[in-house]
Amino acid sequence: MASFALSFQSKKEDEAGLSSYYNNKTTIIQEARVFNESPISPRKCRALLTRIVYLLYVGETFGTQEATTLFFGTTKLFQHKDSALRQAVYLAIKELATTAEDVIMVTSSIMKDMQPNSEVIYRPNAIRALCRIIDPSMAQGVERFFKAAIVDRNPSISSAALVSSYHLFPFAKDVVKRWVNEVQEAVSAKSSGNFFGTVSGGGGYLGFGGSTTASAQQSVPSSSYATQYHALGLLYLIRQQDRMAVTKMIQQLGGGKSGAGTTLKNPMALCMLIRYAAKVMEEDPKLFKRQMLDLLEGWLRHKSDMVNFEAARAICEMKYVNAQQLLLQLFLSSPKPVLKFAATRTLASLALSHPASVAACNVDLESLIADQNRSVATYAITTLLKTGNEASVDRLIKQITGFMTEISDEFKVIIVDAVRSLCLKFPSKHASMLTFLSGVLRDEGGYDFKRAVVEAMFDMIKFIQDCKEQALAHLCEFIEDCEFTKLSVRILHLLGMEGPKSPQPTKYIRFIYNRVVLENATVRAAAVTSLAKFGINSSDSGLQKSINVLLNRCLDDVDDEVQKPLADAYVREESVFSLSALESKLVAYVQDPSASSQRLDLSSVPKISRVQAAQEAARPSTLDTIGAPSTAVSNSPPPPTAAETQSAYATQLTEVPEFATYGSVLNSSASPLRLTENEMEYQVTCVKHIFNEHVVFQYNVSNTLPDVVLEGVSVIMQVNEGADALVEDFIIPIPSLLSANSPGTVYVSFTRANPTEFAVASFSCSLKFVSKEVDPSTGEPEDEGYEDDYALEDVELSAGGDYIIPSYVTFGSEWDRMRTGPSVVETFNLQTMDSIKAACDSIIEVLKMEALGGTEIPQSTTVHVLQLSGLVIGGGGKVLVRCRMTFSQGTGVVLELGVRAEKQEVCDLVISAVAG
């Protein structure tokens, strides 16, 4: 029924459909019944085997089960003696062996066929099939057969054995290595084919003796000596680890200085030898250069074109150019297109390094430009472009333009690259080359080709000032109709960089804004960024204004990707924003509908230097260490940067509903403060979060006792000083804390009485909880527990780290700019400090500000200036500190502290922090 349906369907299909039905996997598997027929019909079976092999070659895959069934079907054909059928069986077995199971079954049948005394035509086929069947452990067992077969007089048997050994080598190195003598013999053997062959060498006479027996063995006479090629390949494979042996082999087979004494008759084998020789020279140039070069030059005069060319190419690649380009020149005028192509290609690559020596061939190359083979012509032109002089450039470019449409993308890329290097070489010719490039840019072509053209134009813009205008105009035109997002983005970026510097920036803006209107999100984002660069970098205020209008229109864009660059106004700054902090800020900004009416407050995002940004990027994400007890933090080798932890804390805090009305966090402590000893049973660390009107203390409490549960865990905070500035709101306790769910978090919230003031306070804290034993058998806590207090270390709210956070600025210019703002200078005498280094460390420790320009490490032991920069949270602006220090034995460190900030309170805060 099924077959009826199939045949019915096939009627409707065309010729190709019919053949696909005929060569259909399912059909073939069904028809495999002919293998089981008795008696076997060799003709039918051969036809079916052909179809199986055909299917495998066109890429059809058989499942293991299917392949095994077919495989065992074919093994049944071994009962038939038909030699053509047997050869077909071997072909099929070779292909099926990789997928079928239990292929080992045919080993004995194959072995029977490859017996040395079996005078069958399919002996080589059996040998080739065997290497697919046996596993490495059996290699030893077939060693005797292989050794005999490799030196067999019949070249096809010998070749089969050599090729099979080549394939066996990776699996059974040790065994195959033992056959090296036989292989050596096969390389230098005077093949029995000599007598029949057209080439009669010195070995012809010897071959005569053997040829009578050989012909009796129905051997196929061979004049190709392909055996030598196969043997050489195997020989090299065996010896490749041993460079001395390889060298010896090359010298031995190379046959002396003239190359006349070589025993190798096969040109492919000689080419192979040349490649090995080139490889040896490359690996160890000093040792073998002279000898190898002699050999190579000898081969230049070999009678085979292939060998001549290979030798010439090897020499060209070694960069020892002298006589051989004459030979290549000879090839150039050869009537054979293959030789012409090979020669021009080699010359083209040689021209990259030795244009002068290739220039000798220029005349011949020019005649090849008109060659009807476009590949030859392309290489000829690229070579000429590289070797040519200034005068010929125009003519060449004209010629290229003529056939640019006729060649494939690959060659177009080659030509464009050649033009690109040419225009850097002859800048004065940029006009014609730019015309050429813009012309081909308009042509049809794939991404690689267009990218090559665009990159060539980028180079021209970068290096040739005169053509910048024009090239940019061409690129603008190109992005109008560019289907490759990547290229559009790159061009837009370039326009953003170069456009504002040009005399008429306005003319680019129309092109860029068109992209904003018409393109996909990625290109729109790039276009908006580019516009922003125009706005920022341009000195023309009218232009800035119109850009502003355009950008405002862009705000309506629905895509996040486009919104982002709008928010980033940091195009020209030396410093970058801490990316994670910026990201959380932007996320908050996007999520909060009310905020979108206001401008994004970027001044509150901490800045870090580019160096730090690079470090940060290299660091793994550390989000999961947040809220873990201090032990966990200290275990993770790269501590998270302040900015990263902060943004992570911010996410953590938004999950607590009580803090929802507090607004965004202004600052969180950079690292948790440890309030207990390491070995205590309860571990507590504290993190301070400062909101606009509130201060939240986050206590991470962990219980290390496995059989105790703590219930109602809270932290009682007693204000020691500064009591009036802060009012306690509430405590969020942990209902139940086991060692398994540690650490838990206790929050204590305070209200800042006066948000503009920087309230400094000190607290004594204690942990309060009800402790209950856990019954180890049931895991249930006992009903009765006892209340307990546990004294913790004091917590302070201070200037450094809580109100001032490190930030990166360019100190010199910023210090001058803030000259007019509030500033305070105080002098301190730090008698307890015993060095400038110690003073620096403690000042940084107290103020927690960023030391700039490496000033945290004093160069001199007596005089030093420490430059610090920070950002005051809650819109307090920047604060800069300059500490001039002198040190003398006896008086200690004398410190002159200069503070410049945007508010007087900030100056006072800093001074009091240092004074306290």
Binding site: S38, K76, I104, S108, S109
Partner: protein
């Protein structure tokens, strides 16, 4: 006497009609499968038979009957391939070493495993209790229940006790085979 006449008749019919049969010889290792093939093809029995790897194929002419023999290796790793070679044959010959009672269980298991294959339903089975020249060999009566041959109902089953060494009962084996030829 009747046996003689029927064999004479067989010989006569063989003169006029050329026939062929394809058989697969299976059984545990060292039960005498390859010996069986040697004996019916050349009439020679040899002490030194190397264990078969994979399979041997032999084509034998006996009178007008051409016998294609697939002699499959009996070692455990080859047993999974028995089915593939039994598939499509005219008869399955299962050889048992009747002097080795310890292996009867394994032989029974492998035999029934093979016969349970759906592709082999209805294929005639011939069980040979080999090596009956040895003193301690099991007779047919013991062999049939040991291999549970009486439980096979979906095909013709025959069981002979024979010896390759002494060529005892080989004539009836060949007769059985030619009866299956076509």
């Amino acid at each position: 006497m009747p046996g003689f006449f029927s064999s004479l008749f067989g010989w006569f019919s063989a003169l006029f009609f050329s026939k062929a049969i394809e058989i697969a010889v299976v059984g545990l290792q060292a039960s005498g499968k390859t010996s069986f093939v040697h004996v019916i093809s050349s009439g020679q029995w040899s002490e030194e038979v190397v264990p078969t790897v994979a399979y041997n194929y032999r084509k034998v002419r006996k009178g007008n009957v051409t016998i294609n023999i697939w002699d499959i290796a009996g070692q455990p790793k080859f047993r999974s391939t028995w089915e593939r070679y039994c598939n499509g044959v005219d008869a399955i010959v299962f050889v048992v070493d009747s002097s080795d009672r310890e292996k009867f269980n394994a032989a029974r298991f492998e035999l029934h495993q093979l016969l349970s294959q759906s592709s082999l339903v209805g294929v005639p089975l011939l069980v040979l209790g080999n090596k009956n020249d040895l003193e301690e060999h099991a007779p047919i009566k013991e062999l049939i229940p040991a291999l549970q041959l009486d439980k096979i109902s979906d095909r013709p089953v025959s069981c002979y006790s024979c010896s390759m060494k002494s060529q005892h009962n080989l004539d009836i084996v060949l007769q059985w085979l030619s009866g299956r030829s076509h």
